[in-house]
C-alpha cells in the first residue's frame, strides 16, 4: 500500500509504444501501383481497392503508356486481424504499421477507413528500430 500505483493515466499521459507496435495500417499512396497483392493476400479480405487505367500522353518519340490509378483504397478495421501480411506482401513499400491507436468509433461501419485517413496516418509512422549487433545488415544496405 505504500508503493506507488503503476497505473498509467492514459488520456493525460500517452503510452510510449515501441515503433513496431501494430496500431494501425498507414498507406503511402504515392508508392501504390494498384497491384492488388495486399488485397489478395489478406486472410480475411478486409482491403478494398478500386482503380482505373489511365493512358499517359506519349512522350516525345515514345509510345503512350497506360498506368493504374488508385480510386479507392480502404481497410475495414472491424475485420482486420492485424496480422501484417499485407504490409509484408507489398512489394513497393506502400503500407506501413503505425503505433497510432486512437481511432475507436461508435459504429462498426465507421471503422472502414478510406485512403485519405490512411494517408494521414503515414505521418505517425516511426522510423524502424536499429537492429541487434548480431544481425546481418539489412538487405537495402547490402545491395548498395
Amino acid at each position: 500500500m505504500t508503493r506507488r500505483s503503476i497505473t498509467r493515466q492514459y488520456p493525460e499521459v500517452q503510452p510510449d509504444l515501441p515503433p513496431r507496435s501494430r496500431g494501425v495500417i498507414a498507406l503511402f499512396e504515392e508508392n501504390c501501383t494498384v497491384c492488388m497483392l495486399c488485397a489478395r493476400e489478406c486472410p480475411d479480405w478486409c482491403i478494398y481497392i478500386d482503380s482505373h487505367k489511365e493512358t499517359l500522353p506519349a512522350p516525345t518519340g515514345g509510345r503512350a503508356r497506360t498506368r493504374n490509378v488508385l480510386d479507392r483504397f480502404a481497410i475495414d478495421f472491424a475485420l482486420c486481424m492485424y496480422c501484417g501480411i499485407c504490409i509484408e506482401a507489398c512489394p513497393f513499400d506502400a503500407l506501413f504499421w503505425s503505433p497510432e491507436f486512437e481511432y475507436a468509433e461508435y459504429d462498426i461501419a465507421e471503422l472502414t477507413h478510406e485512403r485519405e485517413r490512411l494517408r494521414e496516418w503515414m505521418w505517425t509512422v516511426p522510423p524502424p528500430p536499429a537492429h541487434d549487433p548480431g544481425a546481418e545488415p539489412p538487405k537495402e544496405l547490402k545491395a548498395r
Binding site: L17, R20, S21, P43, C83, G84, P129, H131, G134, E136
Partner: protein, 384 residues
C-alpha cells in the same frame, strides 16, 4: 446462467422426497472464464454428475487452415489459444519446416526458444492471477498483471503485438531483434523473478487458500493417461513428461542442464498451482540462458528467404510442442499445394477438460470453482 429445470427444491411435495437439482454452469458464468458450459447434477451442494458441454466458441479453425496458405495459417494458429500464441504459431512452422527439410538459422532457433519461454511465463502469470481470484482473493491478479506487463513490453517491442504476436515465419522469425532488446529482456526477467515472489508469499502460504485447494480435485495417474491430459496439470500428478526434455525441439536439446521439469505428486489443486508457480521460475532461467546464448552467437540471418509461392511437398508429419498448457500438436497432410490438405490440431485444453467428468462428482459446488480454476484452460483452445 440459464436454468434447465428446478425439480422439487427442498422437501414437501411428495413424501418429503428430495430430488436432485440440475444446474447449468455457463455458458455465461463468472467461473468459466469463457463460454464453457457444465451441466451438473446437484444433491444439495454436492455434485453427483457433471458433463462439460463444449463448442460454443467453435470457429472451425481446422477447416479454415485448409484454405489458407502457410503464412495465413500462422494468423489463425495463434488465435485458438490466445494465451500461448507464440507457442501455437511455433507448432505450425515446425511442421512446415520439417516437411520442407528446411534448415533454420541458429539465431532464429535461439530467439524462438527465448520467445516461447517468455510466452510461457505470460501464460502462467495469467493463471497465477486468475486462480486466486476465483477462490476469492482479488489482489494477486494485479500483481501478476504487473509482471505480465513487463514481459509484454519486450514482446511488443520485438513483434509489435501484445497477444497475437504473428512473429514466426516458415524458416525463422519475421524481423530482426531490435538493438538493446536482449538487455531489456534480461531486466524484465529479473523484475518478474522478483515480482513472482509477491504472488508466492501472498498465496502459497495462505491458510485459507491451502484449505481450499489441498486434497481437492485429485487427478490420478491413471485418469491422466486415459484422458490424454498433459502439461502442468499432468506433471502435478507425477506424470513426469515434458516434450522439451523428452523430445527436444528448438534449442531445448542444448538447454538440458538449465531445463528443470517441475513435478508434484499430490495431483490436487494446490499441486497444480505450485507446478505453475515453479514453472515460471524454470522458464525464467531458460530465458536467461537463451539471452546469454544469443549474445554470444556470431552475426547471422534470422530467417530464410522463401519463394514467392510456398508449396509443401506431398507427405505428412506430426509436430508437437510443449505449449504452456500442455501438448499442442499439428498433424499436417500436404498434397503439394500451397495450402495444406488437412491440418489436424490437437490442442491441450480440449483433452485436459474432458477429465472434468470424472473429477467433479463427489465435490461441492465451491470445490468445482477451485477445480475449474486449477485446470488452466482457455476456451478457445477447447473449442478451436
Amino acid at each position: 446462467m440459464s436454468t434447465e429445470r428446478i425439480v422439487g427444491v427442498g422437501a414437501g411435495t411428495k413424501d418429503l422426497a428430495t430430488e436432485d437439482m440440475t444446474l447449468n454452469i455457463g455458458p455465461q458464468h463468472p467461473s468459466t472464464h469463457g463460454v464453457l458450459r457444465l451441466r451438473i447434477t446437484l444433491d444439495g451442494e454436492r455434485i453427483t454428475a457433471a458433463e462439460p458441454i463444449i463448442g460454443y466458441m467453435h470457429r472451425g479453425a481446422e477447416k479454415l487452415f485448409e484454405v489458407r496458405d502457410y503464412r495465413q495459417i500462422i494468423v489463425l494458429a495463434n488465435r485458438h489459444d490466445w494465451l500461448s500464441a507464440f507457442a501455437s504459431e511455433l507448432g505450425v512452422v515446425l511442421a512446415v519446416e520439417r516437411m520442407l527439410g528446411m534448415e533454420v538459422p541458429v539465431r532464429a532457433v535461439w530467439a524462438r526458444t527465448l520467445l516461447a519461454e517468455l510466452n510461457r511465463v505470460l501464460n502462467h502469470l495469467m493463471f497465477l492471477g486468475s486462480y486466486p481470484l476465483e477462490v476469492g482473493a482479488i489482489t494477486p491478479i494485479f500483481y501478476s498483471f504487473r509482471e505480465r506487463e513487463q514481459v509484454q513490453r519486450v514482446m511488443e517491442e520485438i513483434s509489435g503485438g501484445r497477444l497475437h504476436y504473428m512473429f514466426n515465419r516458415v524458416g525463422g522469425l519475421k524481423e530482426e531483434l531490435p538493438a538493446g532488446w536482449l538487455g531489456r529482456v534480461t531486466d524484465a526477467v529479473a523484475a518478474v523473478r522478483h515480482g513472482v515472489g509477491d504472488i508466492d508469499r501472498l498465496i502459497r502460504g495462505n491458510e485459507i487458500f491451502r484449505a481450499r485447494t489441498r486434497g481437492v480435485g485429485v487427478l490420478t495417474r491413471e485418469q491422466i493417461e486415459q484422458y490424454g491430459v498433459s502439461g502442468p496439470i499432468a506433471r502435478a500428478s507425477g506424470v513426469d513428461f515434458d516434450l522439451r526434455r523428452d523430445e527436444p525441439y528448438l534449442a531445448y536439446g542444448e538447454l538440458q542442464d538449465v531445463l528443470r521439469v517441475v513435478t508434484r505428486t499430490e495431483g490436487d489443486c494446490l499441486a497444480r498451482f505450485e507446478c505453475l508457480l515453479d514453472q515460471v521460475h524454470a522458464s525464467l532461467d531458460l530465458a536467461d540462458a537463451c539471452v546469454a546464448r544469443l549474445k554470444e552467437l556470431p552475426p547471422g540471418p534470422i530467417n530464410v528467404r522463401l519463394p514467392k509461392v510456398l508449396k509443401v511437398p506431398e507427405g505428412h508429419t506430426y509436430a508437437w510442442t510443449e505449449n504452456p498448457l500442455g501438448i499442442n500438436g499439428y498433424y499436417l497432410v500436404s498434397h503439394g499445394e500451397k495450402t495444406p490438405w488437412r491440418l489436424k490440431l490437437r490442442s491441450a485444453s480440449f483433452n485436459n477438460i474432458q477429465v472434468l467428468r470424472e473429477m467433479l462428482p463427489g465435490h461441492l459446488v465451491a470445490d468445482m470453482i477451485a477445480i475449474l480454476g486449477s485446470m488452466f484452460f482457455v476456451v478457445g483452445d477447447i473449442d478451436k
